[in-house]
Symmetry: C2
Subunit: 420 residues, 2 copies
């Protein structure tokens, strides 16, 4: 299996991968625009726009959009991230053309009916309420804001309620005009799809679009800082971030392997020390996420009011120790987990379509899986320790705390401990 | 593709399905014992036991269990439901034997070390705290308790904190002795697996176990009732349940199709009326879940303090209207969604292994997918309306409310409206 790529003259890209033996497909449009492409007054517009795509087009009502996909048992959804917005459908083999027609229509021809905007505003305000009611969701918004204060990449994806309350059709149209050019769009599909057929179907829909200049978002600057929100919850929620490599950085895979060995699975150091040895938490993990010009290693754990001090200090100890004595066998295990995770992910049409779109966006081509495997294989213990050492000495830390956290140490104390 | 089944003399069952073109597999042990097999003083033991399986055996420490699977990039996990406990691993083709050996060891030979029990108690108390901090999680526990008050099936899976604080090794051993006989165990695998090989590997591990009598849990009795928990949250969380058919009931598929048309997708009545037309909520759904002797149609939505009254009344209106005028095209769409969902689920080794285990447990054989499809096809508009009519006239309702719910109607008012 290997990916096929076609690029139209206006910059619109199509990437597909046929998966033998699979009777369904995932087809989607990945737009290279997200929350970090908003200026402050626009914060929440990218996500509002994603919602409005489903609320009617020139040709279809909201109900017709849903019915056209669900009539054939398909599933249609969308998400907004900080750098991308995706609209995708999972359908059976026979319905690929139908899904593409609906996806193209909702992305290219949204109606932005004034009454529908009012109704959807209510929906999004409820979505914001739901996030605020979920401590282990909202804490990551606060962590992001703390790590990138006053910057587009630091703002929440949903946007502030007050601002969401004020958006109108003009705000949505402006964001589309600025960021939804054909050069920012990738049509990606995996599963029971045929590349030539998809290209032929996409041609009349997307080839006529006029190319537009691409607006580059403000570069990210990681800053140390902390946010502490006291509240009478059952758990004290702890989230810590350090700056990690961007997607294209040479040490991207070292960072991935490092976060895996630190807190990626049941055999990881944080899981073993905090949960298995001490019983301090149910959920604990470290993960390494990347953007185009920055990244974050994020550690999260939920613990009790009396345990938050111990948990914070042990986490810092483990971070420090990882730079000193991360062993070859631990690194080998983290590599094996990454490789197997990649291979297993390829067996799902949805994960595969998303991966194709992201790879094409990052690299301008779809590197073979063997390239990723080779780069993972190249990460040894020395590389991980050196990476951790660099990380700890240069990055600073962002900290977010939520719940009964009066006994949690301050960032300054944790930083001193790390430097000691 | 078709499932192969082998049963040992002691009742232990093995079911597998080979999936061509897939390089990974999911292998797991599904035990026909869960929270509803506990007596009241045991509530939480089935889940505690599931945790302790990972905390060491006669041959392996907790760390060794995790390492043995993660060394080869595998993933191991477990869950406890009301009727089953599952221990499963997702691994690459070459590691099926390794995964089986680990799974058998943790299920058959847990050490129940006293110190490890103390540590894991802390982990579970944090898990309970996490559930309590997540309104759209805990509300379903309250709904279950309200629907089946004072009954094993109504109790929470995690158990009350006070009780979890008191369990010791004897409690765990007693539950194992009562419910973990070979006749209650199903080894299920899907993906890159070979049936004969798995049977050969399982034989020395499971065939020598002595058959034990099966203890049948107390039958379920659905009761009308409500639980209202006031709290200063962003959203007013609303959950409503009606009694639905059990797994083997003739109208099981009518109920599934009904709940799909009522609130299963974007084109469903509840999504259209509450979210698309009125903007009252972000999350809203109806689903139909089944047990061996009962089932629940559950409706959930999160809304605002001022909107909860409207939302509750509109939900009742839609329930009532569904029994009167559910159209053939809506039912056809719900059927299409169910069928496609089944087919797409078959493309994931994990979903497939779980489905095999459940089918074998329910039916004592693995019906071909065509049987399920035929039963779905047989559900027409008249069947759905008749089912809804029966449901509304006989079942009564259970209601759970959480958050700023002072303006929410009482169950009596909603019941009157339904009957009017």
């Amino acid at each position: 299996m290997s990916a096929e790529v076609t690029t139209f003259a206006n910059g619109f890209r199509i990437v597909t991968e046929h998966m033998p033996g699979i009777e369904s497909a995932t087809v989607g449009l990945w737009i290279e625009a997200g929350a970090r492409h908003e200026i402050e007054a626009q914060n929440g517009v990218a996500h509002f726009l994603e919602h409005m795509a489903f609320k009617g087009t020139a040709r279809r009502s909201a109900l017709q959009i849903a019915e056209e996909i669900e009539d054939v048992g398909g599933y249609i959804n969308a998400y907004t991230s900080r750098e991308m917005t995706a609209y995708y459908a999972r359908i059976l083999r026979a319905d690929v053309a139908r899904a593409l027609d609906v996806l193209a229509d909702i992305v290219l021809n949204p109606a932005f009916d004034a009454r529908e905007i009012e109704v959807e505003r209510g929906v999004i305000l409820q979505e914001i309420g739901q996030a605020l009611d979920t401590p282990d969701d909202i804490i990551f918004d606060w962590l992001q804001e703390t790590a990138y204060p006053g910057q587009p990449i630091g703002r929440s994806i949903l946007g502030p309620s007050a601002q969401v309350s004020g958006f109108h059709a003009g705000d949505l149209r402006r964001f589309v005009a600025e960021h939804y050019g054909p050069g920012q769009m990738i049509l990606s599909a995996a599963g029971a799809v045929d590349h030539e057929t998809l290209v032929r179907l996409a041609e009349p829909l997307f080839a006529p679009l006029h190319a537009r200049p691409r607006l580059v978002p403000e570069p990210a600057r990681f800053i140390s800082g902390e946010r502490r929100e006291m509240r009478g919850l059952e758990q004290a929620h702890f989230a810590l971030a350090l700056e990690a490599p961007d997607y294209r950085a040479p040490d991207f895979y070292a960072s991935q392997v490092f976060s895996g060995a630190l807190g990626g699975g049941m055999s990881s150091r944080l899981f073993q020390r905090l949960r298995e040895d001490r019983g301090l938490c149910y959920t604990v993990f470290a993960q390494s996420g990347a953007y185009s010009d920055t990244g974050l290693i994020t550690i999260y754990a939920g613990t009790g009011a009396s345990e938050i001090g111990d948990l914070a200090v042990l986490t810092i100890e483990e971070l420090k120790r990882a730079a000193e004595d991360m062993r070859e066998d631990e690194v080998a295990r983290a590599r094996a987990q990454m490789k197997a995770g990649l291979l297993m992910g390829l067996e799902s049409p949805s994960q595969r379509a998303e991966r194709l779109a992201k790879l094409l966006s990052i690299w301008g081509r779809v590197p073979d899986i063997s390239e990723a495997i080779a780069r993972i294989e190249a990460v040894d213990g020395a590389a991980v320790r050196a990476h951790a050492e660099r990380l700890l000495s240069h990055s600073g830390m962002a900290l977010a705390l939520y719940g009964p956290i009066d006994r949690a140490p301050y960032l300054s104390a944790l930083s001193e401990r790390l430097a000691a």
